[in-house]
């Protein structure tokens, strides 16, 4: 019985590990372009790592880019 519980716990940990790796890989699809957008805007590329935060992470990054002054300069609104 004890060995069965141990085996199931190990399987559960493996499943969680696979899920985490999969989540990070999926997040990379968002993180790579956002890293470049952040650096071009003048922010640290590490800001894009907020994409790793479930649900609200993308909103945090977009909010930073949308509502703060870009250190590298912005286009004039009327151009």
């Amino acid at each position: 019985m004890a060995s069965l519980v141990t085996w199931m716990l190990a399987l559960g940990s493996l499943a969680v590990a696979f899920l985490l790796v999969g989540y990070v890989l999926m997040s990379l699809i968002l993180i790579i372009p956002t890293w470049r957008i952040c650096t071009r805007a003048g922010f640290s590329g590490a800001l894009s790592l907020f994409h790793l935060v479930p649900f609200v992470g993308s909103f945090i990054v977009m909010g930073m880019l949308a509502f703060s002054t870009w250190p590298a300069g912005e286009a004039s609104p009327g151009r």
């Binding site: 790579i32 956002t34 957008i37 949308a66 509502f67 870009w70 004039s76 151009r79």
Partner: protein, 214 residues
């Protein structure tokens, strides 16, 4: 019955969050692409595409395109934003001339006026006339005839450069810590001179100056 109400409430709440999230994302995307120099509706459209049958793959592709494309903001200043390009010159002298050139608009001979309020409540008014010249916007009291003094602690010495060429007025930031803004958008030294002929206001440090024709 209780389960049904709970399920309806749950999905209603989820739907409400989805609507609010989509609207928020669309608004932020609008602002982000505008800061890069693209029309705001392109960002809005990219987010709204998720509501259509194409799913999320197209907005993802557009995100990658946006990240690696050339942004209008990054176009060289001399390529069209300001640039003291030589005049087009006369029509070619060789070959037949079938049509006359377009009639030229009468040049606007008025000068430029920068006016605003200083941090201490005082008023500042700077007039720029003529058709060519370079002027220094500085926080120091005016020394040279080409110095335009904005006596405020937030204004560098010098802070920015005004360039007059024909009917166009340009502004170049000189890297002062207070920063230079054109209609709220930050101007950096690496942007070079920018055409501000159609601009309503510039900001030097904390001093907002309205730009009008004198």
């Amino acid at each position: 019955m209780g389960v049904e109400i709970a399920a309806l409430s749950f999905f209603g709440l989820t739907g409400a969050f989805a609507v609010v999230g989509t609207v928020l994302a669309a608004w932020m995307a609008w602002r982000i692409v505008e800061k890069a120099g693209l029309p705001g509706w392109t960002g809005l459209g990219a987010i709204l595409l998720t509501l259509t049958g194409v799913g999320t793959i197209v907005p993802l592709i557009l995100l990658w395109v946006f990240a690696f494309m050339r942004w209008p903001r990054d176009e060289p200043a001399s390529a069209g934003t300001f640039g003291f390009a030589p005049s087009r010159g006369a029509a070619p002298t060789t070959g037949p001339v079938a049509l006359a050139g377009p009639s030229m608009a009468l040049p606007d001979a008025r000068g430029w006026l920068l006016s605003g309020t200083l941090g201490n409540g005082g008023a500042v008014s700077l007039a720029v006339g003529g058709t060519s010249g370079t002027y220094a916007l500085t926080g120091a009291p005016g020394g040279a005839p080409t110095d335009l003094s904005v006596p405020d602690p937030s204004v560098g010495q010098p802070h920015a450069r005004l360039l007059l060429s024909g009917r166009r007025l340009g502004l170049e930031d000189l890297g002062s810590p207070g920063g230079t803004y054109i209609d709220g958008a930050r101007l950096l030294p690496e942007h070079g001179p920018r055409d501000i002929s159609a601009v309503r206001a510039i900001r030097l440090g904390s001093v907002e100056l309205a730009l009008t024709r004198a």
